[in-house]
Subunit: 588 residues, 2 copies
């Protein structure tokens, strides 16, 4: 019989604890061995280099001499360790692992001023995190607009040893999509922060795996424009990566969008696609002719190579949601043994009209979670409404959420909240909603718009609803698409609607099989309803994934259970007020 008196338990339980620990470690090793989970080490150096992503030479931010950066490939349950050294002469750097929830490792989320101090020039930071779930992810810079400078790459997680995906395929391709400007990111940043405001304009090129063609077209012979036919040998940095397939097979295309601005549509001539995964979550499979993909999203689609095998077919990406001023990005689906240099007999698929929002909405509304996926809690503990407006603040053009434009503080929140540094950021919680009578159809009136650094604090494990509310921008009759991305969690996308969200919209929400995502779009003048459980102690960015929009303040900061966060590595804290705090007892 065990003693029930606490004071007597101690010595015994100490003995028990030690034995239990030993057994636990043995078990852990056993589990690790049996599951095949590995620690995968990467040693990366970030540096600027000359590169020709779209056949025009430019300075890009590369990793280990590569652009895009090296692909990380791991299995669910693996631990990824990236030893990242900053070889930029004057800039800091961080890398965000987009879609990885960083359960228990909030300091590895790679968001400058939020989860960590930027890595100083010449220094090394150790990202160590578990990739707990199979899926198609990517990584990218998260300081200033360094993602736009080319700091991104793919992160692909396979199912754990012995596990199976809920769909079959014979082979796979990875397509990391991005957009590219010829104006340097530094100059883009200055323009956005200037008064008068200078917009970055539309991208010069769309890139597939970092490859596009600016001064020529792969498909010039089909077009009636005056673009010239590309003359590429195939070994150029801008030459397209051909997708070599065999007939009558099923291929998985992993597609992720790291664009700075462009919303994209992807289509393959003559081939339908079955959408099976989004942001690392399985979907109820559905068939489409073309795929809308917004910045921050990822999908897996299956294609069956059931077309005439003596031909090749275009894969094309084009711009949605903004009057396109950028030619499509192209590559070729090559049915082997047909020569890859044989041109498709038809022109590339035509992207739906940029402003055919009905098409986009139909696509978004076709996405449901695979049966058996986790369902959302049936009720929420707290609901916040986030009004997205464009505002003038002291003459500068900004994006604001409930009239507050996010200005990140020099001290990262994770450390400042954990250590109670009240001077580190605005202590007043930002507004939870906006005036009932706000007219989302008209340009905002700006008197109370401010910049701020306040945080939405959530009780740990509470269920939070977020109603993202779109509105009119500064110009009349303009409302833009914004893909909102949440760090540290997935959310259920409960629904999309038109105009201002109201009580009557409640019943339209889908609680049965809403998809889990980390990124969801708001359509012009519309709303999007999200639900998530604040179950991951840490501080998490939630923001428009359009790089210049975030630079202009279009984001908020969420925090939950920060006192439960374990010891933050020193290397994440050596800046701002956390540095001062840790130094304060220092003698001479």
């Amino acid at each position: 019989m065990l003693p029930t008196d606490g004071s007597m338990v101690r010595p015994i339980s100490r003995g028990l604890t030690l034995r239990a620990l030993i057994i636990w470690f043995i078990l852990l090793q056993f589990i690790r061995l049996s599951s095949g989970a590995k620690t995968r080490h990467f040693k990366w150096e970030v540096e600027y280099m000359y590169w020709s992503p779209d056949c025009i030479e430019h300075v890009v931010m590369g990793i280990n001499g590569q652009f895009p950066g090296p692909t990380i490939r791991a299995k669910a349950g693996d631990t990824v360790v990236v030893e990242l050294t900053n070889k930029l002469p004057t800039e800091g750097v961080v890398i965000h692992w987009h879609g990885i929830r960083q359960l228990g490792t909030p300091w590895a989320d790679g968001t400058a001023f939020i989860s960590q101090c930027a890595i100083n020039s010449g220094e090394t930071f150790h990202y160590r995190f578990k990739v707990d779930r199979a899926g198609t992810y990517f990584y990218h810079g998260h300081l200033g607009m360094q993602r736009s400078a080319g700091l991104y790459g793919s992160l692909l997680v396979d199912v754990a040893e012995g596990e199976k995906e809920p769909f079959h395929y014979d082979g796979e391709f990875n397509l990391l999509l991005s957009d590219w400007w010829h104006k340097s990111v530094h100059e883009q940043e200055v323009g956005l922060s200037s008064n008068p405001f200078r917009w970055i304009g539309e991208p010069q090129s769309l890139l597939i795996n970092g490859r596009g063609q600016y001064n020529c077209s792969l498909a010039a012979q089909y077009s009636d424009t005056n673009s010239s036919q590309c003359k590429l040998r195939g070994n150029e940095q801008c030459a397209p990566q051909i997708l070599h397939v065999r007939s009558n097979k099923t291929y998985r295309l992993r597609v992720a969008s790291s664009t700075a601005l462009a919303s994209l549509n992807l289509a393959i001539g003559n081939h339908k696609m079955v959408v099976v995964e989004a942001d690392g979550n399985y979907l109820q499979p559905f068939k489409v002719n073309d795929l809308d993909i917004y910045s921050g999203e990822s999908y897996s689609v299956l294609i069956t190579t059931n077309q005439d095998p003596s031909k090749n077919y275009w894969l094309s990406i084009g711009v949605r949601g903004r009057l396109p001023a950028t030619p499509p990005g192209l590559t070729i689906l090559n049915y082997q043994p047909t020569s890859a240099s044989k041109f498709p007999t038809s022109p590339p698929p035509v992207t739906p009209p940029w402003n055919d929002y009905h098409h986009s909405k139909m696509f978004s509304k076709s996405i449901f979670a695979l049966m058996g996926s986790p369902k959302p809690p049936t009720s929420y503990d707290r609901r916040i409404s986030l009004l997205n407006t464009q505002n003038k603040i002291d003459g500068f053009t900004k994006w604001a959420i409930n009239n507050v434009s996010l200005a990140l503080p020099p001290t990262p929140y994770l450390g400042s909240i954990k250590y109670g540094l009240r001077n580190a950021f605005d202590q007043k919680s930002p507004p939870e909603n906006f005036p009932d009578n706000y007219d989302v159809m008209r340009p905002p009136i700006n008197p109370n718009s401010t910049t701020g650094s306040g945080v939405y604090m959530f009780g740990l494990n509470t269920t939070v609803d977020v109603i993202l509310q779109n509105a009119n921008a500064l110009s009349d009759n303009v409302s833009e698409i914004h893909p909102w991305h949440l760090h540290g969690h997935d959310f259920w996308v409960l629904g999309y609607g038109e105009g201002k969200f109201s009580a009557k919209d409640e019943k339209k929400l889908n609680f049965k099989n809403p998809p889990l995502r980390n990124t969801a779009v708001i359509f012009p003048y519309g709303w999007t309803a999200l639900r998530f459980v604040a179950d991951n102690p840490g501080v998490w960015a939630f923001h428009c994934h359009i790089e210049p929009h975030l630079h202009m303040g279009m984001g908020v900061v969420f925090a939950e259970g920060v006192h439960h966060v374990k010891k933050i590595p020193n290397e994440a804290l050596t800046c701002g007020l956390t540095a001062k705090l840790l130094y304060k007892n220092r003698g001479r």
Copy 2:
């Protein structure tokens, strides 16, 4: 009678000490009041902004919305406090106070990776230092090539209240000279660090107080080139600042060169100049028609307005030492009340031929200290010879000193030496000289060239001789000018000579009245002999002041008496291994 037994002295001396301290403080206040010494506070924000230094719009690094940065004006003995906030979105920043010796404040020298950690984006650093001596100085960025990006301004120190300069003048003008590129500094840096190497080329424009004209000439009507006449209203950012003078007066022109590359020559039509100050040290006055000035140098010259007062006169700067591909920088000396818009009757003074090194050497050799100036010690404790070569290291083009190309470590030396962090940099002292049989007339053979971060450590208060030895660069028959700048000290320039320095040159050295400087040039294939006293505890850069040359490793690091350095402010240490050291006792 005072007790002589130490143990008995203590209680009494404590009493004495307190009283002495009080008296001392009262005295100090009195001295301060009587001398009028002040603490001058500045609050600066560094940020990128659009500017048109040469009538072409570009991104420049400005301070408080100004380019060049605000002029600091103080009196000898004053304390300058600059609260510097970094408003750059991704870059660190520091500012070096060029010519200020930082006696007792080595952490305020503003050299990234040497005296301090770069100031992180969003953070503030407090520069606090005494300007102990009157003179013409300037300040500039000292991280990466941020000086080239426009981060510079003037620092002018007048004699203390009640003191007099050893020359008379009725008015003064300040001329901060620089050169300007249209290619961004970020791209320049990448090119220099690339393999194949890409040189930055010659500057597009020369600037006087940040103003030049790229697409036109102020003096087009005098030239037979096809440059068009500038059409400026006068309020443009690129419009020249006119020097308004009255007849029959004496004016002091303070001239400092912050060029990234260009060696300059300054001349004023019809006016001779009397050189009276160099780098904050008074000179034996001497008269010249034109003034050679290298990057990192400053001069004061006196002009007498004794010419036809109904006319105006050109002030012109042109490139020396490199085949010029840059038009001269121009402004006008306007005799009031003559209209400033009246063109001079003669063309601008012609810069001596770029390769007329005889002219340059004659100028340099005319510079002597004003009688009564401090004389060098008659002997040295240690002499090091520094061979300047261009080398290939792993395929990269570098500059090396005694075969070592400087690669700054992530942890600033000042902290790492003071705290004995032996892993912070190469512990082996770099070579003190080079092989006797080295042929300075031929391109270097590269087998042993390396990059390194070693330090020359000097005994405190020892006298050090440095023989700077020029040599052939990588190409045949090329040897360039290098202006070497020493931080934390002035040195006596003992002499210049041709070819390789040898014992027979010893007797040519000037120990009688050598000028004190902080910058001295080595001429092609020549040597320059310097002497200084290592009397300033700290770690000090000594380097070629040509920005791309330093970026390519053309510098060394000196240190002396670092254990005498008082408490380094925390804000200078929050990076690299010093950050780790200070954090090491941190709990959870």
